[in-house]
């Protein structure tokens, strides 16, 4: 694993710059928003002009832009994301409350799309150009064209309204006082539809990548060599062709995480899942810009962390990574 360390160090340094740019960007957006924290506070509590002056001074809002940016950075360094206007609570606490739900949703959806997508991709790519390949290719393209929120609504109509198999939304049965395993099972049944809606859209992506990678790999000479050695077709498909096509999918896993976070906003809104995405929608509805930007910052950190993990996994899977640096 040590050969991945230089790479990891370089990525970490790069990530700090990227994060700094994101922070400055979100500060600029915050500045561009009409009204400031004091206006929002006065709207909810009431107060006269003298109090506005006092609060602006106390919160450092009457200083120059650079000083305010420095204050903003200083607060972020202490993990202080500010105060939410609509919830009247520290933004960090609200986000930490909502984060686990979104992580579960994203993790399950990623597992579904990656697992099923690559499996179907192998099935299609085992015989490129066959009937099943064409069928799956067109089907996945159609699936990729479906808006996630609409798929969620269709799933609700079919499975929650018509068939009544699954709950229509929420994360668990309200006031059921379940604990332990029954509660976990309850949450799982509530998550089936949102996870499917989120996962099925991205499934198409992995399917298509796997299929394209395998079609490419079939033309390589090592496949010919494997055939010449008399390996069974099944072994060639799994151990040689599919294995070589799998690596780009791992990279995609990291790149896709930002997209999926964005997708979870609409999915969580459709299914009333109390996660980060729904919080973003609530922040928009409540015109709570600091909260919305807090969510954006946390998502950026999350995406960076996921991509670092994916880099590590990649280095583990591909012996070529870092090999040159270790010997140099």
């Amino acid at each position: 694993m040590t050969r991945a360390l230089p790479l990891l160090r370089r990525r970490l340094v790069g990530s700090i710059f990227v994060l700094l740019i994101v922070i400055i960007g979100s500060f600029l957006l915050l500045e561009a928003a009409p009204g400031d924290a004091v206006d929002a506070y006065i709207v909810s509590t009431g107060g006269d002009a003298g109090m506005i002056e006092l609060l602006r001074h106390r919160w450092g809002l009457d200083q120059s832009e650079l000083t305010r940016l420095a204050n903003y950075l200083w607060a972020l360094l202490h993990l202080d994301l500010g105060q939410s206007v609509t919830f009247s609570r520290p933004i960090r606490d609200i986000i930490l409350e909502r984060l686990p739900t979104t992580l579960i949703l994203m993790g399950s959806a990623t597992a579904l799309s990656f697992g099923l997508g690559s499996a179907l991709g192998i099935y299609a790519g085992a015989r490129p150009g066959s009937v099943r390949d064409r069928f799956l290719s067109i089907g996945s393209l159609a699936l990729y064209a479906v808006p996630g929120f609409w798929l969620g609504l269709v799933l609700i109509v079919v499975f929650a309204v018509d068939l009544r198999w699954l709950p229509i939304g929420g994360i668990e049965t309200i006031a059921s006082a379940k604990t332990g395993l029954p509660r976990a099972a309850d949450i799982a049944t509530h998550l089936v539809l949102p996870v499917s809606a989120l996962g099925f859209i991205y499934l198409a992506l992995y399917l298509r990548m796997m299929r394209a990678g395998m079609a490419e790999a079939w033309r390589q000479e090592f496949v010919l060599a494997a055939r010449a050695r008399g390996l069974t077709r099944r072994r060639i498909v799994f151990a040689h062709v599919a294995r070589n096509a799998l690596l780009p999918l791992v990279t995609m896993l990291g790149l896709q995480s930002a997209q999926m976070l964005g997708g979870s906003v609409v999915i969580e809104s459709v299914f009333a899942v109390p996660g980060l995405g729904r919080l973003a929608q609530e922040a928009v509805a409540g015109r709570d810009t600091p909260l919305l930007l807090g969510i954006i910052l946390v998502s950026a950190v999350l995406v960076i962390a996921i991509n670092l993990l994916v880099d590590l996994a990649y280095a583990f899977l591909d012996p070529r990574v870092g090999a040159g640096e270790a010997s140099a």
Partner: protein, 276 residues
């Protein structure tokens, strides 16, 4: 002509082109077939489809003609999708060309900014941008372009890096052209083809993002959007699911048409390349 024939030889490309052509026809014909405000009340509320032939697809919760809304929604979807994609491709091509051609510190800074834009979920960025600036057609276009230019920028940069070593660029230097002139008059036009190959994916993503934004109530309030229609139908999902399903089908067909036509174009040019 040869190229066109090659484009139409795969059934997928023909299907994609047919879908897109009928959509464009729908968008152009909307004000002719359904003159007047599509958001005006046209009949009794919640009329189911195929009951009254003057209102073929029925009416929504407020008695508005669903078919008229569908036609006018096609205008918004196509306009936003095309405008946002054009803006994203333009920004991406310019940023990528500058980064690739200048190299050094400019390249480093521009690419870190690109990284930053790719790190923030583009939908969240669009959401924040629209909610801060306020929903209107132009703002929605800008918000979508803001999250979509990074892909084209990377592709353009990679292409420029290989082009800037060519002889004709050295020639342009020798005859004393300014660096910026070389970058945008000699290098950029030649780096465009692989960037333009991304356009179908970007148009499709832009249409889907626009739909999601208007579904969350962040579309232009003065225009009919398919996403807004789905959100509107959602309130009566139990009794009248068709109100959400019909505009959704229109969205799926549109995006699918864009993808299929895009694949057809890429395939027809790929064949040409492998033949030459």
């Amino acid at each position: 002509m040869n190229r066109l024939r090659r484009f139409f030889c795969t059934p997928e490309a023909v299907a994609g082109a047919a879908i897109l052509a009928s959509l464009i026809a729908m968008a152009l014909a909307a004000p002719l077939i359904f003159p007047g405000d599509p958001q005006a009340i046209a009949g009794p509320a919640l009329l189911p489809p195929f009951h009254d032939w003057s209102l073929p697809l029925g009416t929504d919760r407020l008695g508005r003609d669903v078919l008229a809304e569908l036609f006018h929604g096609a205008r918004t979807s196509l306009a936003v999708g095309l405008a946002a994609a054009a803006a994203a491709l333009l920004i991406g091509a310019i940023v990528g060309t500058l980064a690739g051609f200048a190299g050094g510190l400019i390249d480093e800074v521009l690419m870190r900014v690109t990284d930053a834009f790719q790190t923030v979920p583009s939908f969240l960025l669009a959401l924040a941008f629209v909610s801060i600036v306020g929903p209107s057609l132009g703002v929605v276009v800008a918000a979508i372009a803001l999250g979509a230019w990074t892909g084209p920028a990377r592709v353009a940069r990679a292409e420029v890096l290989s082009i800037r070593e060519r002889d004709y660029v050295a020639g342009a230097r020798v005859i004393g052209m300014y660096p910026l002139e070389i970058a945008f008059r000699e290098v950029l036009p030649n780096a465009l083809p692989p960037v333009l190959a991304l356009s179908s994916v970007i148009v499709a993503a832009a249409i889907l993002t626009e739909a999601a934004l208007s579904f969350l109530g962040l579309g232009d309030p003065n225009r009919v959007t398919w996403g807004g229609m789905i959100a509107e139908g959602r309130t009566v999902l139990r009794t009248a699911p068709f109100l959400s399903i019909v505009p959704g089908v229109a969205l799926v067909l549109t995006v699918l048409g864009v993808y299929l036509a895009g694949e057809g174009v890429v395939e027809s040019t790929a064949v040409r390349r492998s033949l030459s």
